[in-house]
């Protein structure tokens, strides 16, 4: 609220003889400036459970950058708010448990792409744009250098337009529509080894 000096004085004067909810005992004042630290901000992030191929919807509650709770997404068509015992403890993935079982955010949790160059003994952090470009370039190089336009079948030349140097794995954590598009993209590149992780 923008409060000018004039409106401040006006309000101060007007407030003196006003019937308010506080006058009938409905207090609002405990939220005064004296206790600002009591406020806890939390954000809700809808995501997909990473445990199995069902791909249940999860809502992660994040406070100060740390996951404090994970619950089933009631609006998700697959699980409608429910989660199995593994999914319910999903948020524990981001923790390590110290002595006496005290949880602490896992310092080894990956938050950026890590790259180990050929021959190197350690990983280095990279930016997403850089690694995505690198992946795209390598996929293209692999595909181009291993592309087969036709094969000989019984003395007859048959057009195949494929590469056997790349395989593609779909994901249960994507929607049907996303997997459809991935499949189309893989086919367009000539990939014929296409599979999916859903194994229940």
């Amino acid at each position: 609220m923008q409060l000018t000096r004039r409106s401040f004085l006006k309000l101060t004067g007007a407030a003196a003889a006003t019937a308010t909810l506080a006058g009938v005992g409905l207090k609002q004042s405990s939220a005064s400036a004296a206790e600002p630290l009591r406020v806890k901000y939390t954000k809700e992030y809808p995501t997909t459970c990473t445990f199995c191929g069902v791909g249940c919807g999860v809502i992660c509650n994040v406070r100060d950058g740390v996951i404090v709770n994970a619950e089933g997404d009631p609006g998700h068509p697959i699980n409608e708010g429910t989660l199995c015992s593994k999914g319910s403890s999903h948020f524990n993935i981001s923790y390590i448990f110290k002595e006496k079982g005290k949880p602490e955010p896992n310092p080894n949790r990956l938050t950026k792409p890590l790259y180990r160059a050929p021959g190197a003994s350690s990983y280095e952090e990279k930016e997403w744009d850089e690694v995505l470009d690198m992946i795209a370039r390598r996929v293209k190089e692999t595909r181009d250098s291993n592309y087969v336009e036709s094969v000989d079948v019984g003395g007859q030349k048959v057009t195949v337009n494929r590469t056997e140097a790349i395989s593609w794995l779909g994901s249960a954590f994507c929607t049907d529509e996303e997997n459809y598009l991935f499949h189309k993209m893989a086919r367009a590149m000539g990939v014929i080894n296409i599979d999916h992780c859903a194994r229940l």
Partner: protein, 305 residues
């Protein structure tokens, strides 16, 4: 679900006293107001007769629900019923705090003047004009007026629209405004059974499911701009906010007391007014338009700052 608060409000007030530490003092007043309203309806059973028929065919209404369009059905109400209930509520204010007698008597006099100059049936627009008049011409705070008008109007509209609210296909509706009357919600709940977010219309009591991570006012679904805050010891109430439209609404997590169905959220709203003040202090405004905060509180906080 007890839409007309015919019973159960006493239990709800008791429950709220357990969960909201600032509600103890005001609980008696709320109990008295609910009690006089219920007594009035029992003594005058012909008042606020439920409207049995939709203003349009059931097929058309269902079609509107599918398109996330509200019926915006706000029938005119009985002038005398409204004025009687307002006067009864005012009487309870004086009974609770005699020092407010002069101010509240002025309100009662203006209510009688309103009765004398109005038609037998009055629209919500007319009532809103009356509220604006009271705000400018009396010493009644905007928060007390919000309480009086919302409690009286909702007791009427809940009775009028209960049969329609029961048959309306709200399960098809994903909008943010009330599917029946079109008012913007001020509070809702997380259902104990599955954590689904339901919004409650403060006016007609219609309850409908809404996406967990979505603003009911501007339909924003950008999760980085949406969130909620709560405070220690009272995590039952979450203040959900949207940084795109800078509005807030309150969600009561009923999983913490495991009670679905008969929960009267209007009482939880009154029991948790400190959250409204906190939301204003944090820079958010009421998305419903109901101002539960009196300006004095805000001025005092600025003084402290």
């Amino acid at each position: 679900m007890d839409r007309v608060w015919s019973d159960g409000y006493n239990d709800e007030i008791d429950r709220c006293q357990k969960y909201y530490c600032n509600f103890k003092e005001g609980a008696g007043f709320i109990r008295d107001v609910f009690s006089v309203l219920q007594d009035y309806y029992q003594k005058n059973p012909g008042k606020a007769m439920p409207i049995a028929n939709l203003p349009l065919s059931i097929d058309k209404a269902t079609d509107l629900m599918r398109k996330d369009q509200s019926l915006v059905f706000r029938p005119e109400i009985d002038r005398d019923l409204f004025c009687d209930l307002l006067n009864l509520s005012c009487h309870q204010i004086i009974k609770t705090n005699a020092s407010l007698n002069n101010i509240v008597s002025d309100l009662k006099a203006k209510t009688e003047a309103f009765r004398a100059t109005s038609d037998l049936s009055i629209s919500l627009d007319k009532i809103e004009e009356f509220r604006e008049t009271l705000l400018s011409e009396t010493e009644i705070g905007n928060d007390l007026l919000a309480f009086l008008f919302s409690i009286v109007l909702s007791s009427i509209y809940r009775r009028l629209l209960e049969p329609i609210s029961e048959v309306l296909r709200t399960d098809l509706y994903e909008g943010g405004d009330c599917p029946l009357c079109g008012e913007k919600p001020h509070y809702g709940m997380l259902k104990a059974e599955d954590g689904a977010k339901y919004l409650d219309c403060w006016l007609c009591g219609t309850r409908w499911m809404h996406a967990r991570v979505k603003c009911p006012y501007c339909s924003n679904e950008e999760r980085e701009e949406l969130g909620y805050f709560t405070i220690d010891e009272e995590e039952i109430c979450r203040v959900h906010y949207c940084q795109a439209c800078c509005c807030y609404y309150k969600i009561f997590d009923t999983r913490q007391f495991n009670a679905d169905g008969g929960i009267i959220l209007a009482i939880h709203n009154l029991a948790s007014l400190e959250f409204d003040l906190l939301a204003r202090k944090e820079g958010f405004s009421s998305g419903s338009g109901l101002e539960w905060i009196n300006e004095r509180e805000i001025v005092e906080d600025y003084r402290k700052d």
